[in-house]
């Protein structure tokens, strides 16, 4: 059965800390891995990763994929209170008819 597991489930840090969020997966016919930030309603797209070892960066956020070990990490440096959110990892998988498998998210709280 396809699955995506995120860890930790929740995290509390202070402003300025660096955090690493983990996403591991077991799927058939992997296509891509996506990271989202969810604050209120709809998750906000952060990154899409398809190739191993290539880091994607956006400001203080970065992410990398390891297709051999089947995981991805999302790093946030110099955290701010506005980074408080649930971070979702999703894997696109399948051949022909594909599907998305979502993890349950990591809840990050950044304290001032």
């Amino acid at each position: 059965e396809d699955k995506v597991v995120q860890s930790p489930l929740s995290l509390v840090v202070h402003e300025g800390d660096t955090v690493t969020l983990n996403c591991s997966y077991e799927v058939t016919n992997f296509r891509s891995l996506l990271w989202y930030k969810q604050e209120k309603k709809a998750p906000t797209f952060l990154f899409m990763l398809t190739s191993s070892g290539i880091e994607k960066k956006s400001g203080r956020l970065s992410s990398i994929l390891d297709k051999k070990e089947l995981f991805s990490i999302l790093n946030i440096t110099a955290t701010q209170t506005g980074d408080s959110a649930v971070y979702l990892c999703a894997v696109e998988a399948g051949s022909g008819t594909y599907k998305y498998i979502f993890g349950t998210g990591t809840r990050l709280k950044v304290l001032a």
Partner: protein, 110 residues
């Protein structure tokens, strides 16, 4: 085990057809959501429902309607499908913050 199911994995419809996408959750969740996901745009919220017979518009409700007659079922309706509604449609449900997603329905409108 948490489960959100969607009625079809893949659908092909013609322009002008009425399309029903069904979503069922077995977790007794109050909140249910319909999103579409398009390349480069990520997830966009179409409608959500926080209780039976209750619904609220999301960010892109135009061209869509929804129905929530039973707690476990949330339907997305395209009254008259158009080609720009070709997309991946994802349903989710939640009790509080954590959303559980279905596998998605890939809709192609010709």
């Amino acid at each position: 085990d948490v489960k959100v199911t969607q009625s079809s994995r893949y659908l092909v419809k013609r322009t002008g057809e009425k399309v029903f996408l069904e979503c069922v959750q077995d977790m007794d969740h109050e909140n249910m959501f319909w999103y579409r996901q398009d390349p480069g745009l990520g997830l966009r919220l179409i409608y959500f429902s926080y209780d039976v017979k209750m619904k609220e518009k999301g960010d892109i409700p135009e061209g869509y309607s929804v129905s929530r007659e039973k707690k476990e079922r949330f339907s997305l309706i395209l009254e008259s499908a158009s080609t720009n509604q070709t997309s991946m449609y994802l349903c989710a449900s939640s009790l509080q913050e954590t959303q559980y997603f279905g596998p998605g329905t890939r809709l192609l409108v010709l």
